[in-house]
């Protein structure tokens, strides 16, 4: 008798089809895996970003759970208010989630985020990182990596592509002593769901940094979304790790493929010279070596 095939992540879906995300959008998968891990006793608050548009045209909506729209800079203020209201009503079993883009998190939303983290508001903050302001037309954010083309870091003039490194939001969150912080990727759904479930069991402020490929913004074929996400982990450009009460654990080491394999799939890096790519490789190798060293010295 044939074995019944088993899925490796929960089968239950918390979104209907009909979302207006672009074909191959990683952010759709971030939400899909997040809710598979959290279940339906969840409320999300979402600021201006692609996900504010992706639920669909009014009066329709793709999520099966309640969602609130908030102002661009206000995700963490909004989640704090929702948490307080639920606590007054005694609904302490509901998980409150702030779900924002990278621009809404590392740039404009940073102040509210810092406040909620410092107060240890009991909620989960998820940043889906497509590495630019995609909803408004691919403008650079603090989370855009060095070397990337965006519409505000055009290629060709004297200045050229983005010359500043990516802001490391995980280090910023760590400085707030949050009890749980983790990176997740749409290329590794099992690791993703596992970390979300773990975060759900912790109380206090929890932070999840989700890697979210964007085919139009990254100038790549939409069928490559998962492939590029896996290459980001395998090249150690986006390592998968978690920090639990200050202890860092790398959850996927990655194969250590050259960064050029990752970069070459995306038109936003097409202009980079061999020296530029070598520079990125050195930076990635150094950062990963430091991370491994830290992971080895747990208390």
């Amino acid at each position: 008798m044939a074995l019944t095939p088993r899925t490796t992540i929960p089968e239950e879906e918390y979104a209907y089809p009909g979302s207006t995300g672009c074909p191959g959008c990683g952010a759709n998968l971030v939400m899909r895996y997040l809710l598979k891990g959290l279940g339906d006793r969840t409320i999300v608050t979402i600021p201006a970003c692609c996900w504010a548009v992706m639920p669909g045209y009014w009066p329709s909506h793709c999520l099966k759970i309640p969602m609130v729209y908030c102002a661009f800079e206000a995700t963490a203020a909004s989640l704090s208010g929702i948490r307080a209201a639920l606590d007054v009503r005694g609904e302490t079993d509901v998980t409150v989630v702030g779900f924002a883009g990278d621009g809404g998190t590392v740039d404009i939303g940073l102040q509210a985020l810092s406040g909620a983290a410092e107060r240890q508001t009991d909620a989960i903050y998820v940043m889906y990182d497509n590495e630019a302001y995609m909803n408004t037309g691919i403008q650079r954010s603090g989370s855009t990596p060095w070397g990337a083309w965006t519409t505000t870091t055009p290629v060709g003039d004297a200045k050229g592509f983005k010359r500043e490194p990516k802001k490391d939001i995980m280090r910023i969150m760590e400085a707030h002593d949050v009890p749980y912080a983790a990176t997740v990727s749409v290329g590794h759904p099992e690791d993703f769901v596992k970390k979300v479930r773990k975060a759900k069991e912790v109380s206090g402020f929890r932070f999840i940094h989700a890697y979210s490929p964007c085919p139009p913004g990254w100038r790549m074929n939409p069928m490559k979304t998962i492939e590029v996400a896996r290459l980001a982990v395998d090249s150690r450009i986006f390592p998968l790790y978690e920090i639990v009460n200050g202890d860092l654990t790398i959850t996927r080491k990655g194969k250590g493929v050259p960064v050029s394999e990752y970069l070459s799939l995306q038109g936003r890096f097409a202009h980079l010279s061999e020296e530029d790519i070598a520079k990125i490789q050195i930076g990635v190798d150094e950062a990963f070596a430091a991370m491994e060293k830290r992971a080895a010295t747990k208390n």
Partner: protein, 90 residues
């Protein structure tokens, strides 16, 4: 006719699922699954951004009313049993 403010909800509230939005109309390429080659690994189901794939005894059934034709399933299928075909051809 203008409504009194009491008749207007405090905030617009969604009342219908997004299934009224037939995103399959966006498609340029559509997926064709060779069911004989399918190994029932469920990877295509796992990676569909829009959850348009249903598993029937482990076999993928793709809802073309909503599939946007991104091609992730074809790219990820380890048995290479999904091909993308241009709409109007094949």
């Amino acid at each position: 006719m203008t409504k009194s403010y009491e008749a207007i909800p405090l905030t617009p509230i969604s009342s219908e699922p997004s299934t009224i939005n037939k995103t399959g109309l966006w498609r340029v390429f559509y997926p064709v699954v060779d069911l004989e080659k399918c190994k029932k690994c469920t990877l295509c189901w796992k990676f569909c951004p829009d959850a348009t794939i249903e598993l029937v005894d482990g076999i993928p059934v793709i809802d073309l009313e909503f599939c946007k034709g991104c091609g992730i399933c074809a790219n990820e299928c380890p048995a290479k049993c999904i091909v993308m075909v241009k709409e109007g051809e094949g």
